[in-house]
Amino acid sequence: MEMESLPNGDSTSAAAAASVPTSKLSHLAESLKLEHQFLRVPLEHLKKSMRANHRIVEKEMSAVISGVAEAADRDMSKEEAVQHLSCLVSRLQGLKRKSEEGSKTEHLQAQRCRARLDHLDGVDIDNQSEWNNMRVKRILVDYMLRLSYYDSAVKLAESSNIQDLVDIDVFLEAKKVIDALQNKEVAPALAWCAENKSRLKKSKSKFEFQLRLQEFIELVRADNNLRAITYARKYLATWGATHMKELQRVMATLAFKSNTECATYKVLFEAKQWDYLVEQFKQEFCRLYGMTLEPLLNIYLQAGLSALKTPFCYEEDCTKEDPLSQEHFRKLASPLPFSKQHHSKLVCYISKELMDFDNPPLVLPNGYVYSTKALEEMAKKNDGKITCPRTGFICNFSELVKAFIS
């Protein structure tokens, strides 16, 4: 049987066939645009070191300058003056060492920023599958770091040699604070707030206030009321202008005490408040570094499952190759919307190949449809006989008719 060119799959499918490489390229270009966090996080890390180093230098230098002024203005004995100046010299030497170290760190961090740019630049159609594997690993490391599975994260990063492409050291900074909060200690979290004061202020964060509230609650719990009041005057009062309601609520615990049954106040004494603080911290932390608040894995999985979700995924004969044939994936996808198609996309049951202009669909007398290539191959092997794999129906290749799908 001779294949004539089919009017099937009119201009659109012909165009689609021709534009495969362009669509692949555009997919690639579009996917790179999703990598903002990949470049942003190491940059924020670098900026942070720069700021810290600069602050140290500035502080020490000011101290030295005022030290010199002091020597000039005060009457000193010669010995005193010599000692004073030598002290300043060694202080400067110390500063120089520190600044050298700082500059080394900055240099390493800058290299990391650069390595990531190179990594994005290094992808092309030929090495894409390897690159995609790497991306899956990056996404998984991000997931594990956010959920505090540090050992696993480090293991995956080291075994795949992608330390420069993931943010382990950034998250180790968070780990200290999280561990402390889980032990009901706020000091490291407060120190972190102080370190990032101006930026937290800019984003109108009230995390520090929440930490202070918790410390106050702990004082009330310990029946240390006087100290609690002093504490409130010192640390809570400043937030009154913007967060009066919360402030009042917490202050009322002085009257209700920790054994209260009043629901409004009882909840403030519950242990889960600390978990809540951990969650709050994680969010503040992510925001500060320009990360998404959700793990990348969740974002990509949600998008992917929605894109893959069709009513057919939930049928019994769903192919195993579809992630949505698996119970776990179905569960995740259940609250997500189905995907939408504007054009028919037909997959041959036998060969799993797309039935398109190059491999058009043929209809058996029983109405079942398979791809031309698959049926031709079957006919060649079986003397022109076709057996429908789903019904067992047998017919001749010559009985098949075309179906025009537009």
């Binding site: 990598e35 600069h54 030295v64 995609n132 990509y300 998008a303 192919t319 609250p335």
Partner: protein, 445 residues
């Protein structure tokens, strides 16, 4: 409100409308702040995906210019560092010089000299202005940094979580998926470590199966086919049901191995023992193998040299993996990798959509079906989806695809409509032929 204020607001509105028009003309959604509520429908008709000829609309990402911008930053950072060092040195030198002067001045010298030295030092350091110098270089660095940060924001999508739905994403389910992913990649240590840290003991269900798979594959790598043959023998029926002739392929490789290493007699013995069951279906394969007996020792220059190709081993390992996973009820590729890859392809369109629908959060969260197609590559096409070219509906069991006598295909409902509820003949919308409902038959893709 006075008249001029009203005028300026109106003028702004006019500008917005103009902008909107321009964007519509360009056929793109744009990321503007304009409310698109009125034109969402219209825009959905011009798809966002590749069909709109997207490639030329994507501003080519200028990674090289981003790199250049970063290199400028890192150059400034180096300059700033060396400037800092220089300033520290300068100040240090001045103090040291004064110190020397102080020490070398004779005891006889009065306190006046000492005072003069110190005042001189103070004014010298003031002259250097170390703080100003430090700030100057830092400022320059900051300018470069903020430029680079802005460039990143402009070139990339700065928040990819905008399309995220706040639905429950069960953490245990995700963890079990991740653990299974590690095991199926053969990363058993990592999988165990993960299970431990995540306290997810149920994630190990498939571990032993994948351990067995990797044990078999490792053996194949070192050209030991025994474990593979044992596994195939134990699962013969299911493999046949899958239409796989993996067993024959294994025996063929084993036969060639024996022929190469142990010679003709052993190979013949092996063939007699294991090949006869395949005679009915695969006679030509067996004939070829038997012919190889004639070329023993110089198989590489025989007509059957191809049989020695190492690619057979690679293909075998792949097929083995495929069949092993299939019998486990698993896919060949990691489902996690597939779902992520689909997400990467679908997300850009979803983000554009989320932007357009930013004002309609509720509708966004509640939708049962996405309003636009996400353009995925064909590797993600697992199901046949027929879309009626007339009604644009996706076919379902109630509304199945029907083949007309002219070989065009429409959905049942469209055909019923065209035939005025099956009462008369109708013309195919795509060709001049006429048909009746009775002539149409249901298709199964």
């Amino acid at each position: 409100m006075d008249v001029s204020a009203v005028e300026s607001i109106l003028a702004r509105g006019e500008n917005l409308r103009k902008k909107e028009k321009n964007q519509k003309r360009a056929g793109s959604f744009g990321f503007g702040t304009i409310c698109y509520s009125n034109c969402i429908r219209a825009n959905w008709l011009t798809p966002i995906g590749s069909e709109s000829g997207l490639p030329n609309q994507i501003p080519e990402m200028e990674l090289s210019s981003i790199k250049d911008a970063f290199d400028r930053v890192s150059k400034k950072q180096k300059l700033s560092s060396s400037k800092t060092q220089e300033v520290i040195d300068q100040v240090g030198r001045e103090i040291e010089q004064t110190l020397e002067k102080l020490q070398s001045s004779q005891d006889a010298a009065s306190g006046v000299d000492q005072k003069a030295f110190l005042t001189e030092l103070k004014s010298k350091i003031n002259e250097i202005g170390p703080i100003n110098q430090l700030e100057g270089s830092q400022k320059e660095l900051n300018v470069g940094l903020s430029k680079y940060t802005k460039l990143l924001e402009k070139s990339f999508i700065s928040d990819i979580s905008k399309a995220y739905r706040n639905v429950e994403f069960d953490i245990h389910t995700v963890n079990q998926i991740v653990a299974t992913h590690f095991y199926r990649q053969g990363l058993f240590d990592l999988g165990d470590c993960f299970i431990n840290e995540a306290h997810e003991p149920e994630g190990t269900i498939l571990k032993s199966s994948f351990l067995e798979m990797y044990r078999i594959l490792e053996a194949v790598k070192s050209r030991n086919l025994e474990p593979a043959l044992a596994w195939v023998a134990a699962n013969r029926d299911q493999l046949l049901q899958n239409g796989s002739n993996l067993e024959l392929k294994l025996h063929r490789l084993q036969f060639v191995e024996i022929l190469q290493k142990r010679g003709r007699n052993d190979a013949l013995k092996y063939a007699r023992a294991y090949l006869p069951p395949f005679a009915s279906g695969h006679m030509d394969d067996i004939q070829k193998l038997m012919a190889c007996l004639l070329w023993v020792g110089r198989l590489d220059c025989s007509p059957y040299a191809e049989i020695l190709s190492p690619s057979h081993w690679e293909k075998l390992a792949e097929e083995l993996t495929r069949q092993f996973c299939s019998l486990l009820g698993q896919s060949y590729e990691s489902p996690l990798s597939i779902a992520i890859a689909a997400g990467v392809q679908g997300l850009p369109t979803l983000l554009k959509l989320a932007n357009v629908m930013a004002a309609k959060q509720q509708e966004w969260q509640a939708m049962k079906q996405l309003p636009v197609p996400l353009d995925l590559g064909r590797e993600f096409q697992f199901h046949s989806i027929f879309v009626c070219p007339v009604s644009r509906d996706q076919a379902t069991d109630e509304n199945p695809p029907m083949l007309m006598p002219c070989s065009h295909v429409l959905c049942k409902q469209s055909i019923v409509k065209l035939s005025k509820s099956s009462t008369r003949t109708f013309k195919c919308p795509y060709c001049p032929l006429e048909a009746t409902v009775a002539q149409c038959r249901q298709l199964y893709f």
